[in-house]
């Protein structure tokens, strides 16, 4: 096994030095006389609770196009970005269709990995898309993806636990703190789970204080303005006052487990966790116990980041015609309705919101207005790279190695290094 490790290391080293070398094209098929054939490889990034439903839906494409085989591959969210870049840049093993996080779309497009979808069948009834969702698919005037689902962060809460402690659903982080105190004294449980390992969860605090990462219009870094530091001190205060527990690793699973097992009463999470939460012992058979409310406000306003997933075609796909058709299918009103019914994910098409089963879905009723008010992130190629500096500073600030001001400064410095033309 030692040899195995050495070999892994060698391969990694070779891959590192040879990362710029090319490979071969692969894939075949296409349309013969208008009829689609061949294989469509689809990389899905949905989580464990969602992937079963997604696989079934993706396979449904085979019924519409019997000559096409759908090769469904589930790639965990955490690895998907790197894996796609390895495959796409190396010209081997990349899928035909990729489910990209909204902030990855511009990154992949700017590197030439994605095929533009304008004037292809993939963009079917483009006027129907929510303008916010459509904004995340554009880069330099072209459209590189079809919006599949839209989401934002919200406050998940355990109705029974809040009731037993006699607290109302908190509307701001101040109220979270006081509610947590009561919950602790009544039940001994912790109020909030605060993700300390994922920079995305810094955004509601930052927006809440009226700040933002960047001002893309005037090309200015704004994260190290006082609001950025304030956001850090709000987070640190929640942890220090024991209103919240946190982790520097494995946060997604820890948060979901703590929430669904009833160890914490509240958590900031998105629609992608609804299915997983409902399988926990606090909510199984008692769906009504899961409450969702807008993300708590900071001292200035309430703001949660806009997220979601897009469907993009790999520019090097050997079967682009089928890939376009597959994207059209996966972003169609019918499929979006199915994903809402089965997984409570939010559609990106306005028309789907009129369907009764979608309209009646509790989670949609809650998340739709939340998404409408969510804050758009900067849709620039570097958008995804903006998270790493936050991650490093978040750990330093929450562990007390760095002050909130130093933390915000550190992020700002990293941004100016990353974005050459920003002040």
């Amino acid at each position: 096994m030692r040899r195995g490790i050495a070999a892994t290391g060698l391969i990694a080293a070779l891959a590192m030095t040879a990362a710029a070398c090319g490979g071969d094209d692969e894939g075949s098929g296409g349309s013969k006389g208008g009829k689609l054939s061949g294989t469509v490889t689809f990389w899905d990034t949905s989580n464990d609770a969602e992937k079963g439903a997604y696989e079934k839906i993706a396979k449904g494409f085979e019924k519409l196009h019997p000559d096409v085989k759908v090769n469904y591959v589930n790639v965990p969210f955490g690895e998907a970005n790197a894996k796609f870049k390895n495959a796409a840049g190396g010209n081997s093993g990349a899928p035909d269709v990729m489910r990209t996080e909204v902030a990855w779309t511009q990154d992949f497009a700017s590197l030439g990995y994605l095929a533009p979808l304008d004037d292809t069948v993939a963009l079917d009834k483009a006027d129907d898309y929510l303008p916010q969702a459509a904004a995340s698919t554009k880069f330099k005037g072209k459209t590189y993806a079809a919006p599949q689902t839209i989401d934002t962060l919200a406050l998940f809460y355990n109705k029974k636990m809040l009731k037993a402690s006699g607290v109302d659903v908190p509307k701001s982080f101040d109220e979270v703190k006081s509610a947590a105190k009561k919950i602790k004294s009544k039940s001994g449980k912790t109020g909030l789970y605060l993700r300390g390992d994922d920079p995305y969860y810094y955004l509601p605090y930052l927006y809440g204080e009226g700040g933002d990462l960047l001002d893309t219009k005037s090309k200015k870094v704004t994260v190290d303005d006082p609001e950025g530091a304030k956001a850090f001190s709000v987070m640190k205060d929640l942890v220090d006052s024991k209103a919240a527990v946190t982790d520097a690793s494995d946060g997604y699973n820890n948060q979901l487990n703590a929430f669904k097992d009833g160890d914490v009463a509240m958590a900031l999470d998105g629609p992608w966790s609804i299915e997983g939460a409902l399988q926990g012992k606090q909510f199984k058979g008692d769906k009504g116990n899961l409450g969702v409310a807008p993300a708590p406000a900071g001292s200035k306003r309430q703001g949660a980041p806009q997220g979601g997933w897009n469907l993009a075609a790999y520019a090097g796909s050997g079967n682009l015609d089928a890939a376009y058709e597959f994207i059209k299918y996966m972003s169609s009103a019918k499929v979006q309705q199915q994903t809402t019914e089965q997984l409570s994910l939010l559609p990106t098409r306005t028309s789907v919101y009129d369907v009764k089963s979608v309209k009646d879905n509790q989670m949609v009723q809650f998340f739709k207005p939340a998404v409408a008010k969510s804050v758009q992130r900067p849709w620039i190629p570097e958008a995804n790279a903006l998270f790493e500096p936050i991650r490093l500073q978040l750990e330093k600030v929450l562990s007390g190695k760095s002050s909130p001001e130093k933390g915000a400064e550190g992020i700002g410095d990293a941004y100016r290094k990353l974005l050459k033309d920003y002040k």
């Binding site: 096994m1 030692r2 195995g4 490790i5 050495a6 892994t8 290391g9 990694a12 080293a13 070779l14 590192m16 030095t17 040879a18 990362a19 710029a20 070398c21 090319g22 970005n81 790197a82 870049k85 390895n86 796409a88 840049g89 010209n91 990154d107 700017s110 590197l111 030439g112 990995y113 095929a115 300390g196 390992d197 527990v245 946190t246 982790d247 520097a248 690793s249 494995d250 820890n254 487990n257 703590a258 160890d263 790999y314 520019a315 090097g316 796909s317 682009l320 190629p381 570097e382 995804n384 790279a385 790493e388 991650r391 490093l392 978040l394 750990e395 330093k396 562990s399 190695k401």
Partner: protein
């Protein structure tokens, strides 16, 4: 048949010339030519291997070194993706990358931790491996069972054991903290506190490394002749003296090689750190190789040039350490 005849003729001729060396230097063919003529068969046999190594090791190595003197990144290297043909637009920047790395605190922080990590892992796993090997080298009941049990970490794929450890370390649900709670001790933030995370990664790596040390030491111990111990016992040497003056010197050749190899492995031990903590919390457990990986695979756009420069620096460091170590051994009279 023809081959054999030719060979024997050459061999005879060569033998002649070797015998005659010094007496008639003028008549000898060139040294290179002579070795080739003598060993052409051997050269032909190793040619495929040399070629393959040249292609899969030499070329990437040279290319990596070249890239480290440019500003190549994911956005400016040449790519042909379907209809998109993107030409290479990176250019040479000389030694700027190296200058930037060496003048940045990040490199020195990572280097310090990498050295601490390597030294403590190797020292601990060597000490434990030696102790266990000494114990298992004696005749005791169930020796085979103990040997099997101790070799187990080696038999399990690294990623499986690392993931298992990760579950054990989990602060809220992990077995280790459950055990501590049973003893009335507060939960330890194994992977969430920088110092504990460092202790945790070292623990796991030592656990993975002990079997290798154990097997190597056991082999070394068995090659020490029993008569030496008998003679020492006759002279009245106690157990510690026997260990100190027979076992340790007897193990020296094996130990020095094993320590060097293990040191290099640990220095570049990517999987344990990457799978256990991903270099976190923050960047507390990031060693040089995981950082180089981060540059080339995690940040966007991927910094190929910077990562290559880190790679070259790591290679240089390891070469220096290996040469210095061999020198030190040779000074102690070790033939290596």
């Amino acid at each position: 048949m023809a081959v054999e005849t030719g060979q024997s003729v050459v061999r005879a001729a060569d033998a002649e010339s070797i015998r005659g060396r010094g007496h008639r230097p003028g008549k000898n063919p060139g040294r290179l030519r002579r070795t080739f003529a003598t060993h052409w068969y051997a050269w032909a046999m190793v040619a495929p291997v040399v070629t393959v190594i040249g292609v899969i090791v030499g070329y990437p190595l040279v290319r990596g070194m070249y890239l480290s003197t440019t500003n190549a990144n994911e956005a400016n290297v040449e790519r042909h993706i379907g209809v998109n043909d993107i030409p290479a637009t990176y250019e040479s920047v000389g030694l700027d990358n190296y200058q930037a790395i060496l003048s940045d605190g990040v490199f020195w922080d990572r280097l310090t931790w990498t050295v601490v990590w390597t030294v403590s892992c190797v020292a601990l796993s060597f000490a434990l491996g030696l102790a266990l090997a000494t114990m298992l080298n004696r005749k005791l009941a169930g020796r085979t069972f103990y040997r099997m049990a101790l070799i187990l970490p080696w038999a399990v794929p690294a990623f499986v054991s690392v993931f298992t450890w990760r579950l054990l370390f989990n602060e809220k649900k992990g077995l280790l903290n459950k055990l501590l709670a049973g003893g009335g001790i507060d939960a330890i933030p194994w992977l969430n506190d920088p110092t504990w995370a460092k202790i945790s990664v070292i623990t796991v790596n030592v656990w993975l490394g002990v079997p290798f040390m154990l097997v190597a030491m056991l082999g070394g111990l068995q090659s020490i002749p029993g008569e030496l111990y008998e003679a020492a016992e006759m002279d009245g040497a106690n157990a510690w003296q026997r260990f100190r003056h027979i076992t340790l010197p007897g193990l020296r050749t094996v130990a020095s090689t094993v320590i060097l190899i293990s040191g290099i492995w640990t220095f570049n031990m990517f999987p344990v750190i990457f799978l256990l903590t991903r270099g976190g919390p923050g960047d507390a457990t990031e060693i040089l190789v995981t950082y180089a990986y981060r540059l080339s695979f995690v940040v966007s756009p991927r910094d190929f040039a910077g990562s290559a420069a880190w790679g070259v620096l790591i290679l240089a460091l390891l070469s220096i350490i290996a040469v210095a170590y061999r020198r030190a051994l040779r000074k102690q009279g070790e033939v290596w």
